[in-house]
């Protein structure tokens, strides 16, 4: 089917609708996989129910391969190459997250079924849980393909809506329900804000298409400035997206939701909505061009807004993380702080056209998303793998003491993961920060880089505490020992993450080139030709009309 679609899209006279189908092949694979997971998960046979997770993994692998081998660029886009990179990244991190999510729901129902009781379909949540996970990743991939405000909004909502349910059903604790309700209401609020912003953008420009001959980008480019209504629209849309990336005016939900949800779901929340938000931000900011505000920057109003949001987000995230005792809350605030860092890349923008690898801010954001996606899983995997004997997750920092001695694998995963997130050299997190620093400096955002540097120093306090507790401290004799989860795939997810942050280092240069290429701004040559011929076509038609 893929080759057929590719052949169809290659022809010159292919209607755009069919060409568009060829770029969403990974999403279609994911969707079909989701339906299969949904059906298998409700089977009467225990083996088939367990196979639903395998089906999800298989769909992720096929979707990743389809994205890697599918069309590498889109015509009429100012970010034509972001799609394959983002989709492969989503499939890869999604696969690790899937390993981490095993055994989150249905343990009681499955235990009863194993004991010989009939399988209780109504109480079982496994099918929904994995299907929602896959739906969310499908939405995330659709965000990468988006070229239209309506498409972008629907994709963002498809990413977010399943996560609300996943938070609520991830554990049986009342805290999860509370987190789910909080997350849902704030999410609905932010979605309304986002949609209102999109409405104003549409009202000001008359288009919902982001790029191309007739689009928001072309109208604003012709105007040379944003104008008050479009500015209002973009401000509201960015604030709405701040919820997805957990940036400051909309960050309040983060710690409560991360703490309330099961650790695997929290790991997912740290990657999936954040990636969706940053893809949305990249598309929106690219549509207003990087040449409007003079130089290669954003329009001055948006630059100021993002500047303040970035500075506040980093500082709030890091300072508040210092006061936490729960590992999950620390990681939640650290997730806020990482969003702040990544916003620096958005502010820096792609730089001068054709700037080399370290100068492209959007490329740095994509690289950082990749490294954050990999290193973040490790820390959450440790929390997900440890349980107290009394039940519940061992999420206090003190619970981690002496972990390198008692459970060496988990202990070292925690050490490596937190040291990487801190950004010490010899791990992938350092390079992510390095590219953001370079891009920011090239764009002349010295003050913001100073704030970022200070924040990295503040972050050292709590990351070193996370690394020091398992490595240097000792566990008291009288304390109840921890139980390691029976789900080995969770440990495997942590192991992949910890090995990944080190093993990716030799390939970091190649990855940086890839992410830089993915973020190359401006229509690609073939896309430029396509839009130029389209423009001629339209011109010719309008001439004959008059």
């Amino acid at each position: 089917m893929m080759s057929l679609l590719a052949a169809m899209s290659a022809g010159p006279d292919v209607p755009p609708m069919i060409a568009k189908l060829s770029i969403i092949v990974p999403e279609i694979v994911m969707f079909v996989g989701t339906c299969v997971v949904l059906m298998l998960g409700l089977s009467k046979t225990s083996t088939i129910r367990r196979a639903s997770v395998g089906a999800a993994g298989l769909a992720l692998i096929i979707a990743g391969i389809a994205a890697a081998t599918g069309p590498q660029g889109v015509a009429d886009s100012l970010l034509p190459h972001v799609m394959p990179y983002a989709k492969v990244l989503i499939a890869a991190v999604g696969f690790i997250l899937l390993l981490l999510l095993t055994g989150t729901v249905d343990r009681e129902v499955e235990a009863e079924a194993d004991a010989g009781k009939p399988f209780d379909v109504l109480r079982a949540n496994r099918a929904e849980f994995y299907a929602f996970f896959m739906f969310s990743l499908t939405g995330l991939m659709l965000c990468a393909s988006a070229d239209d405000l309506i498409w972008l909004f629907l994709a963002l909502e498809l990413t977010s809506l399943p996560t609300y349910v996943m938070v609520s059903i991830s554990t049986a604790r009342s805290r999860s329900q509370e987190a789910g309700v909080k997350y849902f209401f704030l999410g609905a609020f932010s979605a309304a804000m986002l949609l209102m912003g999109f409405t104003f953008i549409y009202g000001a420009t008359g288009y919902t298409q982001l790029f191309g001959y007739h689009s928001i980008a072309s109208v604003i480019g012709a105007q040379g400035s944003l104008g008050p209504i479009a500015t209002l629209g973009f401000v509201m849309a960015i604030v709405g997206l701040c919820f997805k990336i957990a940036a400051v005016p909309m960050h309040f939900y983060t710690p409560d939701v991360y703490q309330g949800a099961a650790a695997g779901v929290s790991a997912m929340l740290a990657f999936v909505p954040k990636t969706a938000g940053f893809l949305g931000l990249m598309l929106l900011t690219s549509a207003v061009g990087w040449g409007l505000g003079g130089g290669y920057g954003l329009p001055s109003e948006l630059r100021l807004l993002l500047w303040v949001v970035a500075a506040l987000t980093m500082t709030f995230g890091n300072v508040l993380a210092l006061m936490q005792r729960s590992v999950k809350r620390i990681l939640a605030y650290s997730s806020i702080a990482h969003s702040g860092y990544m916003l620096v890349g958005i502010i820096a923008g792609p730089g001068a056209w054709g700037a080399g690898a370290p100068g492209n801010g959007l490329g740095a954001v994509l690289f950082y998303l990749m490294s954050y996606g990999v290193m973040n899983v490790g820390a959450f995997a440790v929390v997900a793998s440890l349980e107290k004997q009394s039940g519940g997750e061992a999420e206090d920092v003190d619970d981690l003491r002496g972990l390198c001695k008692t459970h060496p694998l988990l202990g070292w995963i925690m050490v490596i993961s937190s040291v990487t997130m801190l950004g010490l050299p010899f791990a992938i997190g350092f390079l992510g920060k390095f590219y953001l620093f370079t891009a920011g400096l090239r764009a002349g955002e010295v003050a913001l880089i100073v704030v970022m540097g200070l924040n990295s120093a503040i972050a050292a306090f709590y990351y070193l505490r996370l690394a020091g507790a398992p490595l240097l401290e000792h566990r008291d004799e009288h304390e109840a020992s921890l139980v390691v989860t029976a789900f080995n795939s969770r440990k495997l997810a942590g192991l992949i993450s910890a090995v990944g942050v080190l093993a990716l280092l030799p390939f970091a240069d190649r990855l940086a080139t890839l992410s830089d290429h993915a973020a190359s701004y401006g229509a690609s040559s073939e896309a430029a030709q396509a839009s130029a011929s389209q423009a001629e076509h339209v011109d010719a038609r309008s001439v004959t009309d008059h």
């Binding site: 209607p15 609708m17 069919i18 379909v121 109504l122």
Partner: protein, 137 residues
């Protein structure tokens, strides 16, 4: 559209264009009035406590509002919504599909899309069936 607007605004069409609408409205009014008049004339007259109550054969209007009722109502409503919304989406599709040139490349794409869309509903139906939504015991 611009060449239609003056015609619609012109007075020379008169009210004749609205005759069908008028007929529909008068039929609706006549139906309601006729029903009330007929039931006044030929309806049996019995009164009583239950008969005088609002929603004679429906919910209990007196008592606490915080009454629990079966969760099945929600499930039925949700399932109804699923098929209802699907039908709404089928209408614009059908109108567009009828006007597509059969030889154009859009034709199989449009058909494929709606079949894919129907497939999603079938999946939803199977899911609901397996979960016991349609079991009324």
């Amino acid at each position: 559209m611009t060449h239609l607007a003056p015609q619609l605004l012109a007075a020379d069409i008169g009210l004749a264009a609205y005759i069908t609408v008028m007929m529909l409205i008068s039929m609706a009014v006549a139906f309601a009035v006729a029903n009330i008049v007929l039931s006044l004339i030929i309806g049996p007259r019995r009164t009583g406590q239950v008969k005088a109550m609002t929603y004679e054969s429906g919910m209990e209007p007196v008592g606490t509002a915080r009454k629990r009722f079966n969760v099945r109502f929600y499930i039925i409503a949700m399932t109804f919504l699923l098929f209802d919304v699907e039908v709404i989406f089928l209408y614009p599709w059908a109108v567009t599909y009828a006007n597509i040139d059969p030889s154009s490349a859009y034709q199989p794409v449009f058909l494929g899309r709606v079949l894919f869309f129907m497939l999603t509903t079938v999946v939803a139906y199977l899911y609901g069936y397996r979960k016991g939504v349609f079991r009324f015991d």
